[in-house]
């Protein structure tokens, strides 16, 4: 019988399937894999009788319902890519910072507070980048260099997470991982930078080693790592599970290969 893979996705705006995902699905189908694409928000999920109905679930959504579904499938013995714990740790920026610290991975000074206004006293040491603790796609990210430029409390209703903004880092280095394979692009910092492909970049062995350590520390297999580079070296300032892979050569083929391999490994 054909193996079945179920992709748990997030409906973007506009509502269309990411072309890389669409092509990866088509390639898996060509190999005889049964592929289901799910948007949990658009389903009516029966919770108390939920059952595992695929050999592998690929989690590419960070919504609360997608995480609930992943939690339930994991408890029922379903296989998830990435693993549940890895996705949970990457989704919460506080847990991610703690995971990086525990693994000794260089990361910017990070702060947490109840409300943005509390960060005013910290700006004397330099500008901060303020991020929603469960953010994605750069949504709600703001750089503050003075108390008046701190975001409003309404944008961070539960807590506020901030990192030292590395002013000397001219560009972001974004590294995409598919298992052990790494691909890097360099791009200027921008709030909508996730939409831009950036310039392909060469990775030094040191940076490669740091990215592999991130994968191991979180237990991630399909992930993205954002780094800032300056004269002193690199620092990891963001970790994402299942990023968009924009700018990665042959991304769809590589993803399809990796997912097919994960299915075979059983």
């Amino acid at each position: 019988m054909a193996m079945k893979v179920s992709l748990v996705l997030e409906r973007g705006s506009p509502a269309r399937l990411n072309p890389i995902i669409a092509e990866a699905c088509a390639r898996l189908q060509e190999r005889g894999v049964d592929v289901a694409v799910r948007f949990p928000e658009e389903e009516l999920l029966r919770v108390d009788t939920l059952a595992v109905d695929a050999d592998l679930y690929v989690l590419k959504s960070s919504t609360s319902l997608a995480l609930s579904l992943a939690t339930m499938l994991d408890r029922l013995g379903g296989r998830l890519l990435n693993r549940l714990r890895a996705s949970i740790a990457a989704r919460d920026k506080l847990l991610a910072a703690a995971t990086l610290a525990r693994a000794g991975i260089p990361a910017p000074r990070s702060l947490v507070a109840g409300q943005p206004v509390q960060l005013a006293g910290e700006l004397a040491a330099g500008p901060l980048i303020v991020k929603p603790y469960r953010g994605a796609y750069g949504r709600g990210v703001a750089v503050a260099d003075a108390p008046t430029s701190l975001p409003a409390a309404a944008a961070h209703p539960e807590l506020v997470f901030a990192q030292e903004f590395l002013t000397n880092a001219r560009t972001d280095l974004k590294v995409f991982a598919i298992g052990d394979e790494l691909f890097a692009v360099r791009k200027a910092f921008a709030e909508d930078s996730f939409l831009h492909a950036g310039q392909p970049a060469h990775l030094s062995p040191d940076v490669e080693a740091i990215v592999h350590r991130v994968g191991q520390a979180f237990g991630l297999e399909l992930y993205g790592v954002d780094l800032a580079e300056d004269e002193d070296g690199v620092q990891v300032f963001d970790v994402n599970f299942f990023p968009g892979y924009r700018g990665v050569p042959d991304a769809a083929r590589r993803l399809a290969d990796y997912i097919a391999g994960a299915l075979q490994r059983g």
């Binding site: 009516l44 108390d48 919504t63 319902l65 919460d92 703690a98 525990r102 469960r134 953010g135």
Partner: protein, 283 residues
């Protein structure tokens, strides 16, 4: 021994939360036994993440369910700290959707339950009977609505609710179960179990405290199975017991570290449990 209670600064009280009586009493008893107890008020000030990498206490008690306190508990656990209830148990219990599935899979009776991101998806279910629609996260019945029929849906729910960050918010719905006008609560500290019955809806202040009642073995067993399934140590379980002579019951809510209101024995039991847990016993 050093124990820290993780509480959340409320917006109303910038100087930190007033301690609930059960918490204050538990802390006083732990201090009487020689434990050094600190109260950590999350959100009251700026915390350096690096300072959390080296936990200073033998035990952290996660009292608040606010997202900041919850994430800090996770951060402390990643750094090797001992947290009660554990971060994974608290995370699971905080998610009513995953909790309900976990209980059903463990054989604990729950009402028929559904999750979706679209209120309209609940419409077909409402044709056959009323639903309780609940937020995925929540406590003390906040945000819980009874929807009688398809017409009630449009009046009470946004079709595609969003969280404060603009991400879709799930709706959780459970089939209505006749409760006989009673709210039956079971409180657990380790392996000690109590039960309280409250009239629903409450009409007098005493109704909110409730009356201590003897525990049926089958309910005791279901409450302990709930805690075991979710990995909880300090918790409350809300039951519905239809008064139809069928002997049926359903678990409709679970709370990590509840208020233990109306239980005079709670502070002593909590202090005992936390003291032993801080010494690395239990579990």
């Amino acid at each position: 021994m050093r124990i820290a209670f993780l509480l959340q600064a409320s917006k109303a009280d910038r100087h930190g939360p007033g301690l609930a009586r059960v918490t204050a009493d538990t802390i006083a008893r732990l201090r009487e036994r020689g434990a050094q107890v600190d109260v950590m008020v999350a959100g009251a000030q700026v915390l350096e993440m690096a300072a959390l990498a080296r936990p200073q206490h033998d035990l952290y008690v996660l009292k608040s369910k606010a997202p900041l306190t919850h994430s800090l508990a996770g951060v402390l656990e990643v750094a090797g700290a001992s947290v009660v209830n554990t971060f994974s148990a608290s995370t699971l219990t905080w998610d009513k959707i995953a909790t309900t599935q976990a209980l059903a899979a463990a054989g604990v009776p729950v009402p028929a339950s559904w999750a979706t991101g679209r209120a309209a998806a609940l419409r077909p279910l409402l044709i056959t009977g009323p639903l309780w629609v609940k937020p995925q996260h929540g406590k003390s019945g906040r945000g819980v609505r009874r929807v009688e029929g398809p017409a009630g849906l449009d009046a009470s729910l946004a079709d595609e609710p969003l969280d404060p960050y603009g991400f879709p918010l799930p709706l959780f719905a459970q089939r209505d179960v006749a409760s006989g006008g009673l709210d039956f609560k079971v409180y657990v500290v380790g392996d000690r179990v109590w039960s309280i019955v409250k009239p629903w809806p409450p009409r007098t202040p005493h109704d909110k405290i409730g009356t201590s009642v003897p525990l049926q073995p089958v309910i005791r067993e279901a409450a302990l199975a709930t805690g075991h399934t979710l990995g909880l140590e300090l918790y409350g379980v809300d039951f519905l017991l239809p008064q139809d002579g069928s002997g049926e019951f359903y678990v409709v809510d679970v709370n990590a570290f509840p208020g233990y209101n109306g239980l005079a024995e709670a502070p002593a039991a909590l202090a005992d449990y936390l003291y032993q847990r801080g010494r690395g016993q239990w579990r």
